[in-house]
């Protein structure tokens, strides 16, 4: 031990303020590095649990949709709008042909 007493150790022959404040900054940096992973872990665990609850709720909603919409003609049209349009156009052409034939008679 270099110093004779506690007060001598704290005073560091006049340099105490500098030495101890430097070590205090080091303590803060060490504490930050130890605390921030703990905080981050809490956040991630909460996030995973929230996500799981949401997924469970979504599954219920999807089941409901499947039972009501299944077999609906609308769904098929929206699933493939192009073919639905073509079908519609073909029907209109048939109608107009019929009307032309009717006027000729």
């Amino acid at each position: 031990m270099y110093f004779d007493s506690w007060s001598g150790f704290l005073a560091m022959e006049g340099h105490g303020l500098y030495v101890w404040s430097a070590y205090a900054v080091a303590a803060v940096v060490i504490a930050y590095n130890l605390i921030s992973p703990v905080m981050a872990k809490r956040q991630v665990v909460a996030q995973v649990r929230r996500q799981e609850r949401l997924v469970k709720r979504k599954v219920v909603v999807n089941d409901f949709k499947v039972t009501t919409d299944s077999g609906n003609d609308l769904e098929q049209r929206f699933a493939n709008p192009e073919s639905a349009q073509q079908k519609h156009r073909a029907e209109r052409q048939e109608e107009s042909l019929e009307s032309v034939e009717g006027s000729a008679q």
Binding site: Y2, Y18, V19, A22, Y23, A26, V29, S36, V44
Partner: protein, 244 residues
Amino acid sequence: MNWTFFHKLGSPKWFYDISGKWLPWLQVSSLVLILVALVWGLAFTPPDYLQGNSYRIIFIHVPASFLAQAVYMMMATAAAVTLIWKIKLADMALKVMAPIGASFCILSLATGAIWGQPTWGTWWVWDARLTSMLILLFLYIGIIALRGAIHTTEAAAKACAILSLVGVVNIPIIKFSVDWWNTLHQGATLKLTEKPSMAPEMLWPLLLAILGFYLFFTLVMVLRLRIEILSRERKTRWVKELVS
């Protein structure tokens, strides 16, 4: 050559499992080494003939400065691995190392300023070593901010990797600044090629402190990396089972 170890290293789950076994060893060794080194350095070493007791700041200033630069080099290595092999774990390491490196860079600058007041008579000068360390801090902050600004994980990984690699140019400038522009900051005390210019009773606690700080860095880096793994793999079954 068998490359399976390389792919294993890239697997987040494998790393999560194996790193859990390292934690107790890292905790005990870093705690013991830092405590022994700092108590030794503060209370048992004799004062410097020129600087008196203020030199005792060296036992945190030098390890913090070493780490600030070493962490940056590790980040640059992780950046290269991210760009070349697209290993997710490397990008996670790059992300979690940035705030740790920044905190040690702040510690280095703060302890340096506190040490400068009784030794040089000023907190701060625009000396080459000090300025290049400040630039290193800005690089750390820039990398953290860049990741925060980009929302897609892949795009953020690429941008941060490129910025980390560009910033490497600053590391040799820091290292050689005391030789190129010899102004106020003293030259290197520890050199690999020469005998250290320091008495052994001061050198030993310093070497222990450096080792202790490195182990402490490894500990907090692994802690953060494990959490980052959980966060990015949160949609996988193993994380869900682990958490719930």
